[in-house]
């Protein structure tokens, strides 16, 4: 079997050296790395449901909370099936249908991936591998959460049938090719040298701009005015659970229980903490009160922004990224959104799209070469004498923004040929829970 060097876009060049260095020892199963990646996979699963469901669900009105929870849960179920059936193979296979863009069906239904087979992919630990099945499942949970993130934008007005078809097609036609381009060893974007530790482009920029495309086509909610979240305690719970799960997302992305994973863990927590302070501080300055929703939103923005940077930046860099991204997103969500008038209901674009871009660019600024030194690689940002990295990051951002935005426009239009996207105004008024699922979240008396 062809040996992959690594799935990280960032590792293109460095990895040559790395592979050479580490070519000698035969890869063996590392039970420690496997233990961490099993746990990390469970943590990333936890992010989609219940965490994201609660974060989003608390923000909508009572009559729509189930529809949001259902979208998260359905994304988990639908994408898991697609991923096992052929998604993983199309995204990560080393033999390809479209070179550099799409793999083939060689690993369909995890064919040939019996339990003893080791993952061909590794990041910081070339010798101590995890089972191939674990790597595939870890990736599955990334594929799951991405369409669920988009759902925040079009909350409270999309037909469930449209959601199902759209999610399936979007996963296959946008997520999978982008994942292949960015993460597979043959991927066209992989070869650019873009630094993206845990999925800033494939997950967050991708979801964010898909969200923007959808809401532009779908239009505003019929009664588009600011409504109070129906349960901010859920939103707070959800934010805390996302933070918790994100440790798996970012620190799991080293595919090893080692110092790089640890470093990503530290960066994740530092960025979330800094961002979780900055947003309510801006609230305090501008609107007189530090808000809980601000703290929760800030933390999530910090987590988004640090995602591409997690394994490359030191704690101070991580805090800077979290803080800067929060300032930009605050401005987008509270000023620009209103000005432009698109209805990004729960700020999927404002937080993930914009936060993702800021994070991707700042990775090119704050990447600290000291981190990977002992691991035989060098990743430097502008601050450490490598201004060119910023340019590479910008190209990466541009390509993924275009792919996500225009690709999504097309998919939407495609699905729109078959199914109407929006519920009727009457259904919107009555609420999606009753009209789409014939259920209610809460009883009044019982």
């Amino acid at each position: 079997m062809k040996r992959f060097s690594s799935f990280l876009t960032a590792l293109t060049l460095a990895v040559a050296a790395l592979s050479a260095q580490t070519a000698a020892p035969t890869p063996v199963l590392s039970s420690g790395n496997t233990a961490w990646l099993l746990a990390a996979t469970a943590l990333v699963m936890f992010m989609t449901a219940p965490a994201l469901g609660l974060f989003y669900g608390g923000l909508v009105r009572k009559k729509n909370v189930l529809s949001v929870l259902m979208q998260c849960f359905a994304a988990l179920a639908i994408v898991s099936v697609i991923w096992v059936a052929f998604g993983y193979s199309l995204a990560f296979s080393d033999t390809e249908i479209i070179p550099g863009v799409l793999g083939d069906f060689k690993w369909a239904f995890f064919n040939g991936m019996t339990p003893e087979v080791l993952s061909p992919y590794y990041i910081s630990d070339a010798t101590g591998r995890v089972p191939h099945l674990v790597f595939a499942m870890f990736q599955c949970m990334f594929a799951v959460i991405t369409p669920a993130l988009i759902a925040g934008a079009f909350a409270e007005r999309m037909k469930f049938s449209f959601f199902v078809l759209f999610t399936a097609l979007w996963e296959i036609l946008i997520y999978i090719p982008l994942a292949h381009m960015v993460w597979s060893a043959n991927g066209v974007l992989f070869k650019l040298g873009v630094l993206d530790f845990a999925g800033g482009t494939v997950v967050h920029i991708n979801a964010g701009f898909a969200a923007l495309a959808v809401v532009l086509l779908l239009g505003k909610r019929s009664n588009h005015r600011t409504l109070p979240p129906h349960n901010l305690a859920y939103t707070m719970m959800g934010a805390a659970m996302l933070w918790f799960g994100w440790f798996g997302f970012n620190a799991g992305s080293s595919l090893a229980a080692d110092g790089i994973g640890a470093s990503a863990f530290v960066a994740t927590n530092s960025a979330a903490a800094a961002a979780g302070l900055v947003w309510p501080f801006l609230d305090w300055l501008i609107n007189k009160r530090p808000t809980i929703l601000g703290a929760a939103t800030g933390a999530v923005v910090g987590l988004v922004a640090v995602t591409p940077a997690a394994g490359f930046v030191n704690p101070a860099g991580a805090m800077a990224i979290g803080a800067i991204a929060t300032i930009v997103c605050f401005f987008m969500v509270t000023v620009v959104k209103e000005k432009l008038g698109y209805d990004d209901a729960l700020d999927a674009f404002g937080c993930h799209g914009i936060g993702g871009i800021v994070g991707a660019l700042l990775t090119g600024v704050f990447a600290d070469p000291r981190l990977w030194k002992a691991f035989g690689a060098t990743y430097s940002g502008a601050l450490y004498g490598n201004p060119g990295q910023l340019g590479i990051q910008a190209i990466g951002v541009l390509v993924s923004v275009c792919l996500a935005f225009f690709g999504t426009l097309i998919i939407y239009k495609l699905v729109d040929l078959v199914l109407r996207a929006r519920v009727s105004v009457h259904e919107e008024e009555v609420g999606l829970d009753i009209t789409q699922h014939n259920e209610r979240a809460y009883t009044v008396i019982d």
Binding site: T226, L227, P228, D283, T291, F330
Partner: protein, 113 residues
């Protein structure tokens, strides 16, 4: 027999209850309502957007009393609920044609207390 309905600020409920007890009015029915009155109330702000709903939380009291108790009841509610700020609320009074105590079947003035 009269029914006295009062809409008050939620946090005045304890004071109103005390005042009513002091006036020997001890039976009442309470519920949570939303009110739109003259009070504006700083709008809540969510992600920098001002909430545009304008219904404020209020408590609604429903107290059935015999004629002699109407004015003392009104006075007690006023005593407990009044802060002098806009939003203190209102009292509505209407005539009751009949009152029945379910347990005993008693009717009228006897059933009220």
């Amino acid at each position: 027999m009269k029914m006295v309905i009062a809409i008050i600020q939620p946090w005045r409920l304890e004071y109103v209850k005390e005042a009513l007890y002091a006036a020997e009015v001890k039976l009442m029915t309470v519920s949570e309502v939303l009110g739109h009155g003259r009070q504006d109330g700083a709008p809540e702000i969510y992600r920098g957007q001002k909430e545009t709903g304008n219904l404020l939380r209020k408590i609604r009291l429903e107290i059935a009393v015999n004629e002699a108790f109407v004015e003392p009841t009104i006075a007690a509610i006023q005593k407990g609920a009044k802060t002098g700020e806009v939003g203190d609320g209102k009292i509505f009074v209407y005539e009751l044609a009949e009152v029945v105590r379910i347990r005993t079947g008693e009717r009228g003035g006897k059933a009220i207390g």
